[in-house]
Each structure stands twice: as structure tokens, then as C-alpha cells.
Symmetry: C2
Subunit: 102 residues, 2 copies
């Protein structure tokens, strides 16, 4: 058996993104996309710190519509990554702004 | 102080992406972008399992050019996320194909 070195932080992160997507996408018959219900479960479980602060009840509906680029009512892995990327950019920008203030 | 619950896998992943980018982007005077040198250091350290299997020595040069959407010779955080997303999609596709074979 080939010797496996422990994964780097970036490799662990890529693995996590795939594992999380598959965990939530696998809840209904189509294991390769997130339905609206699966998307809501994902958001309310994995990103509850974000969702519980949203006062507008329509925000998740609008996010799903915006992320679903091909409008098939499902999010594929690329569309899911756009969500993670958007959140990461928002966090990173807020970090940059907080650094500039110091 | 507000009670902090432990981060979810998705939150940890978003934090990791930001931390890794800042670790490598912070090596020269511009702390908010990856220069070509910083990109090569990142690839050869964090993704060496990928880079060491590349027989073509020009592959990293071409990746940098393709990722640098605004052609400023630097990768910003969004351009960096496109790299991570591209690798994650490639891994996910290869996983799907391997599942179909079973």
C-alpha cells in the first residue's frame, strides 16, 4: 500500500466541501443535487449563525433562486460552491475592512 | 460575553480558506493578493499531491494565467476561490464517475 501523508489544510477543505455537499444532497432520490428542501436543511444546520440573524423570511428563497443559475430548481455542486465562495468573500471583505480600521 | 457554539464543518471550511489565502498572500508587501511566487509556494506546499504528478513544467504558469481573470499578475481572493472550486469540482466529478462504475 502506498504511504499516505496527512492531508494539507487546503486538501482537507476540498474534502470537506465534497463531503458536506454529498451529506445534504443525498437526502432525497437525486444524490447529486440539492433540492430546495435539502438547501434549506443545509442552511439551517450548517450556516445557522447566518440564517438565524436574517430578519427577512424571504432571504433563503431569493438565495436559492440566485444560486440556481440554470433554473432547474436544484443546486448542483458548482452552484453550491458559488454559495460557499460568496460567503467566504463576504467574510474576507469584512476582515479586510476591520483591519484597515486599526 | 456571548456563548459561542463550536463551528460547523462548513464554517470551519470557510475559515480555513480565508486563513490559507492570508497565510500565502501575506508573504510579500501586498497582503491581499497572491503574487506568482506566492501562488507557486501555495501550490507546491498545499497541493503538492497535485503538482508533483504534473509532468508538464508549464502547467502552473498556465493555471496562474487562466486564474488571473483581470490579468494584473496577482490572484485576489475571488480568483483563488475559483482555483479551489475548480479542483473541488474535478474531485467531485471523478468521485461520481467512480460511483457509476460500481
Amino acid at each position: 500500500m502506498a504511504k499516505m501523508s496527512s492531508p494539507t489544510e487546503t486538501e482537507r477543505c476540498i474534502e470537506s466541501l465534497i463531503a458536506v455537499f454529498q451529506r445534504y444532497a443525498g437526502k432525497d432520490s437525486n444524490a447529486f443535487t440539492l433540492s430546495k428542501t435539502e438547501f434549506l436543511t443545509f442552511m439551517n444546520t450548517e450556516l445557522s449563525a447566518f440564517t438565524k440573524n436574517q430578519k427577512d423570511p424571504g432571504v433563503l428563497d431569493r438565495m436559492m433562486k440566485k444560486l440556481d443559475v440554470n433554473s432547474d430548481g436544484q443546486l448542483d455542486f458548482q452552484e453550491f460552491l458559488n454559495l460557499i465562495g460568496g460567503l467566504a468573500v463576504a467574510c474576507h471583505d469584512s476582515f479586510r475592512k476591520s483591519q484597515k480600521r486599526v
